[in-house]
């Protein structure tokens, strides 16, 4: 865990972007949806904003950071050759995103009550916070697998910015699945964001079955990410 402290220290250089993406933009987005959105989907606006916040930055941040330190520079080699294990480095980045996401989600949940006029109890807030952390962890793992798996870091930089949008727009994140056309509903079943939205909705309405279905979906994606990352590490040791 030594490395987590220093990775966290390095994040002070982009604190403004971090606060912007994890708090200010979500609050503005929520406010906009409150003003122009259909009031019957209020609950989904909240689900979408929490999913967006706990998915986007951990995914893009981890993918781009990993791609840069592994492929765009030799920082990864400096850390690795001087004692860090591959998983120490991964854990460092994941811890960083979790620690940065937690206060944002907590603030967002509290602010949402004022913005949307919804009411959440302590149990709902606590469950949603834990679920949001699981989503951030899962998203970090997806980002890690992308960052370490693709050799050309410029491709990772671009792909990591493109991938989130279909994942957020083709999945029932900001709206219920029932308003999606049939074909897109089928597509949404293979998207991780669908399960993130299920888990957050289940947490906010305290529906255990929905929460468990969402978390099981995330478990599948996280396991796949770990396998991809492990394969990339072994491939790197053999092929350079």
């Amino acid at each position: 865990m030594v490395i987590s402290k220093y990775i966290l220290l390095s994040s002070r250089s982009w604190v403004y972007a971090g606060v912007g993406f994890t708090l200010i933009f979500p609050v503005l987005w929520l406010t906009l949806l409150r003003i122009v959105g259909n009031p019957q989907y209020l609950q989904y606006f909240m689900v979408g904003t929490v999913v967006n916040t706990s998915f986007l930055i951990p995914f893009i941040g981890t993918a781009q950071d990993m791609a840069y330190i592994r492929r765009g520079s030799t920082i990864y080699t400096v850390l690795f050759s001087n004692g860090a294990d591959h998983w120490d480095i991964a854990l460092g980045y994941i811890t960083q995103t979790l620690l940065l996401t937690l206060p944002s989600i907590a603030s967002l949940l509290l602010l949402s009550m004022a913005i949307l006029g919804v009411r959440y109890g302590v149990a709902q807030i606590m469950t949603t916070l834990v679920t949001a952390l699981v989503i951030a962890l899962s998203s970090s793992l997806l980002g890690y697998a992308l960052g370490i798996g693709v050799r050309n870091y410029r491709i990772t930089n671009q792909v990591s910015q493109v991938i989130p949008w279909p994942l957020l727009l083709l999945a029932p994140v900001y709206y219920p699945i029932t308003i999606l056309p049939q074909a897109i509903r089928l597509v949404s079943l293979v998207l991780p964001t669908t399960y993130m939205a299920l888990a957050i909705h289940g947490s906010l309405v305290l529906n255990p079955m929905e929460l468990i279905r969402g978390l099981l979906g995330l478990l599948v994606y996280s396991s796949a990410s770990i396998l991809i990352a492990r394969h990339a590490v072994i491939r790197g040791e053999v092929n350079g």
């Binding site: 490395i3 030799t74 400096v78 850390l79």
Partner: protein
């Protein structure tokens, strides 16, 4: 003192291929306690590939590397190695002191010793007053010094420096040389690659010349003896005689009698390098 008991690194017949390219062909090298070992070879000779296998970033296709009797991974886990990889960049978003401290802590140095080690390493490379500065704000040469300080802090038993003085000015290069000598004097084994051959002559106890495989090895003076000539350069006329010692004595005797100014130059390691690997200009 070099003997089989104080061996720090032992690589035995390492082979490494990348597709159809063979980077290392049955390479065997060793480095002992209190020894600076340099690896010299032209670009693409497989030096960095060899080092990456020693510090465990690459798996050899066959052959074995041991560091103090352990696998590279185990040795890394016990904090035995300090490494400056080729073309390395430090973690630019940290402050200088934080970077050195991070690598010291990664090597498992007890907390109570960390501050002393960091101070000593920063002092050794002349970065003490820059400890609180963000690495991103330093010049390229100073960033290399941060890496060297991070690698040598707390004197790991094995220090691997892959071209550590690239882009560093003469004064700072001397600082790094002093750091390498101090590490050797305190018993660390240092493995060095560089394209500055005079650096190898200054620092090395043993040199391996390699081009995918080891071509020869020995101390710098042993390697220089490969070339059996001496150069007599006459200052006034610019004439150069590259002859054996017996013939050179006759020429010198004649020049002394004629009171002509001249200089005598023995082969350098660079001459050996050119002889072994060829002169690209002659090939053209």
């Amino acid at each position: 003192m070099v003997n089989s008991e104080n061996v720090i690194v032992k690589a035995e017949c390492l082979w490494k291929r990348f597709g159809s390219l063979t980077a290392n062909e049955c390479i065997s090298i060793s480095a002992h306690e209190g020894e600076v070992v340099s690896i010299l070879g032209p670009n693409g000779a497989g030096k960095t590939t060899l080092l990456r296998q020693i510090y465990g970033e690459l798996r050899p296709d066959s052959g074995v590397v041991t560091v103090m009797g352990l696998s590279p991974k185990e040795a890394k886990g016990r904090g035995i190695m300090g490494v400056v990889p080729q073309e390395a960049t430090p973690f630019n978003l940290l402050k200088v002191r934080e970077h050195v401290e991070m690598l010291v802590r990664l090597r498992g140095v007890p907390r109570g010793m960390v501050k002393g080690c960091v101070d000593e390493a920063l002092e050794a490379v002349g970065l003490r007053e820059y400890g609180g500065k963000l690495i991103d704000e330093l010049s390229g040469g100073m960033k290399r010094l941060v890496l060297v300080a991070s690698a040598i802090a707390c004197r790991p038993r094995l220090i691997i420096l892959d071209e550590p003085t690239v882009g560093i000015d003469a004064q700072n290069r001397r600082s790094i040389w002093n750091v390498i000598r101090a590490a050797r004097d305190e018993g660390s084994a240092v493995i060095l690659t560089t394209h500055y051959i005079y650096e190898v002559e200054e620092l090395s106890d043993r040199v391996y010349l390699m081009n995918r495989r080891i071509i020869m090895d020995g101390s710098p003076s042993e390697l220089r003896k490969v070339l059996p000539w001496v150069e007599v350069r006459v200052d006034d006329t610019g004439e150069v005689f590259r002859v054996g010692w017996d013939e050179a004595i006759g020429i010198i005797d004649d020049l002394v009698r004629r009171r002509v100014r001249f200089e005598v130059k023995e082969p350098s390691l660079e001459d050996v390098f050119i002889k072994v690997f060829g002169d690209p200009h002659e090939a053209e």
